[in-house]
């Protein structure tokens, strides 16, 4: 069930993955990391632009970049993972409905509120009538999309699919999530110090990262996705065991790089630390959520980073040949992805 990443596009709190991997990634102050948005007119017709919601713009820009990067003949399908969906349009319609007591509503926000609006609009831009679906399952929304792509490509390798992980951070979502004590105090930090505070809470993030994937390796290929696995309701030990089996199946005694979803929350990071201790003697470790913040599909940003490393060899010393990615939301879901140079 392996396949290749042949193109990547992203709109994220970093200008690019190259910048994110450089010695000077963008540092965000406070507890929210918002996207650095591009000039959308490079991707979207100016007349259309006004009508599109922000999350769709983020996604059309990112998916267009992925298509340009991979330069496939055609796109055969679009699969999106999103934890929160189109939260801005959802809230807009909800607010009006409550405030106006269900009278005099405009349908526009409702029309764009469904989770599948993102994949639909990306397909619409590309006039892609192929497979189209959307996963919304918390921290494994993107990994579910990736697994679906792996299944499709195992059946028909010679096609190119767009797989995206997308979530937006809005004032309302931040205001409500804050009340669950998820985030650090804003005065505490610049995002570069996320892992050194050792306090509770993380920083909120957002992003849209799309991958053009295929069962066929091309001159544009970044790396091979050798395995994708999600675990539900298991322990860190279960993930360690699954990771060991995954490496064994692929004949890898060790990996060169461990890519971890630590988010700076002392309560959560201890799970990553425990995972890491089982693998660290074998290679180096890279964390990424100080670059993109925490959000349900942050793993798409993490994998973009890992894939870029494998292609560009912007190595941390030695050139990595294999990357083991691990992300978790404690007590619910864990995800493992194995990337290999190709």
């Amino acid at each position: 069930m392996s396949f290749y990443i042949n193109g990547i596009g992203a709109v994220s709190p970093q200008k690019s993955f190259a910048e994110a991997l450089s010695s000077k990634p963008a540092v965000h102050y406070g507890n929210q990391l918002h996207c650095q948005e591009p000039d959308y007119t490079a991707f979207i017709d100016a007349r259309q632009l006004r009508r599109l919601s922000r999350i769709v713009k983020l996604s059309i820009a990112a998916s267009s970049q992925a298509v340009q990067d991979a330069a496939p003949a055609i796109i055969d399908g679009v699969i999106v993972g999103t934890g929160w969906g189109c939260i801005e349009d959802t809230v807009t319609f909800l607010e009006k409905m409550v405030e106006n007591q269900e009278e005099a509503l405009s349908p526009t926000a409702f029309i764009h509120s469904t989770h599948n609006t993102i994949a639909a609009q990306v397909a619409f831009q590309l006039k892609c009538k192929g497979y189209n679906t959307t996963y919304s399952h918390r921290s494994i929304s993107f990994e579910s999309a990736l697994l679906d792509a792996a299944l499709l490509l195992a059946e028909t390798p010679a096609q190119t699919l767009l797989v995206g992980g997308v979530d937006e951070l809005t004032n309302t979502s931040f205001s409500i999530l804050s009340r669950f004590d998820l985030f650090k105090q804003p005065q505490e930090l610049g995002s570069d110090s996320l892992f050194s505070l050792g306090t509770a809470g993380t920083v909120a993030g957002e992003g849209s990262v799309f991958f053009a994937v295929s069962g066929v390796r091309t001159e544009h290929s970044y790396c091979q996705v050798a395995a994708v696995q999600t675990l539900s309701f298991g322990s860190t030990d279960d993930a360690v065991e699954a990771a060991r089996k995954m490496l064994q199946r692929h004949g890898l005694p060790a990996v060169d790089l461990l890519l971890l979803g630590n988010n700076g929350d002392s309560k959560e990071d201890k799970h990553y630390d425990s995972f890491e201790t089982n693998f660290t003697q074998q290679g180096q470790t890279l964390k990424f959520k100080h670059l993109c913040g925490e959000y349900p599909t942050a793993s798409a940003f993490g994998l973009g980073l890992g894939a870029t490393l494998l292609k560009q060899n912007l190595s941390l010393g030695s050139v990595p040949q294999s990357v083991l990615f691990y992300n978790c939301s404690p007590q619910s879901h864990q995800a493992l992805v194995l990337l290999r140079a190709c």
Partner: protein
């Protein structure tokens, strides 16, 4: 290798079990009534396909908290029934997955939260809004059932649970799981009702799908899940309970966010590719459970696509949404459940009413509920916002 359907669970306006649902069809009793539980201010002027149980009653029946979202309560009710059809010894030795689908997650609770939150950003019960995301209900139900080998949620508007069934079949085929409980749920919410109502596609009275005089859809609610098994896992079961999920396809209309193209390109592709997958000809299909929402756009586009694919020779067809209402993300699974009954029990499901065919099409739906011996292959269509179109085919083993 085909996925075998060996059981399921259903709850909708027609009843809380298969027996109750069949009894409603037998009595030609539509589930569309005045809303008893949905707290919309428009409730006086409209009919709804509401499940005839309060949250309290649903919760009591399953020893759950009545403060849970209606999404969870409905999902649990149907998924529990489906899970209970799996023999205990098989549960122990099998890798089991739960793939659910919803379009609005716990919106029924979120809209209550917003009443308070909009007055004061520090107000509102977090115990309500914590149910908001789509995965919440899936996780709750999976944990209650003890399923952990694979869990995810699909959200492709009104085609959601058809896609959940499709993913389940594909995971079995790939050998990743032995058994999958797949389907979907959506509760009635003010959010979805007002959304569809502002689009002016809600018929305040009993809807009339596939009729020239149709004026829109009725919203409904419910949940349904099918138990899908690999052939190997199903070996221990008596063959009589089986049918096959023999074909499935997903295509996109790539035309408009909320309307289908005139020629029904997405529906056509979904149906055509599902036939291809099942290695069947259009003439092999004995009955189509249409998406048939009752909106002017859907029924014309779907009908046109059927005419293109089937030539002038139509199989039996109907829209059971005229009985259940449009249950959104649950509709694909509810209609798949009914389609399985058609294959295994020979039940032909009718339209609630029918007077004259959709303009330019001569599609004549079934109007009586009856049993017919030779129903070998049944097609079930589900289309949604965003051009998402899916088609499933169930076949005799």
């Amino acid at each position: 290798m085909n996925a075998l359907v060996t059981g399921g669970g259903i709850i909708c306006a027609l009843g809380t079990s298969e027996a109750e649902v069949l009894a409603s069809f037998r009595a030609h009793r539509s589930g569309m009534n005045a809303a008893e539980f949905l707290q919309t201010r428009h409730r006086a002027g409209y009919v709804f396909g509401e499940v005839p149980l309060s949250n309290q009653a649903l919760a009591e029946r399953h020893h759950l908290s009545p403060t849970l979202s209606r999404t969870i309560l409905l999902s649990y009710h149907a998924a529990r029934a489906a899970y209970d059809t799996i023999p205990a010894n098989l549960r122990q030795v099998s890798r089991i997955g739960f793939i659910s689908a919803t379009s609005v997650g716990g919106m029924d609770k979120t809209e209550q939260f917003f009443e308070d939150y909009l007055v004061d950003k520090a107000a509102g019960d977090l115990g309500q809004v914590m149910h908001h995301d789509c995965g919440r209900a899936t996780d709750f139900v999976a944990r209650e059932l003890g399923i952990k080998d694979f869990v995810t949620t699909i959200s492709t508007a009104c085609s959601s649970s058809a896609n959940a069934l499709m993913l389940g079949a594909r995971m079995l085929k790939a050998g990743l799981l032995d058994i999958v409980i797949a389907g979907g749920v959506d509760p009635l919410t003010r959010f979805t009702f007002n959304g569809f109502n502002t689009l002016m596609i809600v018929d305040p009275e009993q809807c009339k799908p596939l009729d020239a005089t149709r004026e829109g859809l009725n919203l409904g609610e419910g949940a349904a899940y099918l138990v899908l098994m690999s052939e190997q896992a199903a070996q221990a079961l008596p063959a009589s309970v089986h049918c096959r999920l023999s074909g499935y396809a997903n295509a996109n209309d790539a035309f408009h966010q909320t309307a289908l193209s005139d020629q029904g390109e997405g529906p056509y592709l979904a149906m055509q590719q599902a036939l291809q997958k099942a290695d069947l000809q259009p003439s092999d299909i004995d009955y189509i459970n249409m998406h048939g929402t009752g909106t002017r756009n859907n029924d014309l586009a779907e009908g046109t696509a059927i005419r293109r694919l089937f030539g002038g020779v139509y199989p039996k067809l109907s829209s059971t949404k005229s009985f259940t209402g449009h249950t959104l993300a649950a509709s694909g699974a509810i209609e798949a459940y009914l389609s399985v009954l058609t294959v295994t029990g020979g039940y032909v499901f009718p339209n609630f009413s029918f007077r004259q065919p959709v303009e330019t099409l001569d599609l004549i739906p079934e109007t009586e509920f009856y049993q017919h011996a030779t129903m070998r292959h049944v097609m079930s269509n589900s289309f949604g916002f965003g051009g998402n179109c899916s088609s499933l085919i169930f076949s005799r083993t």
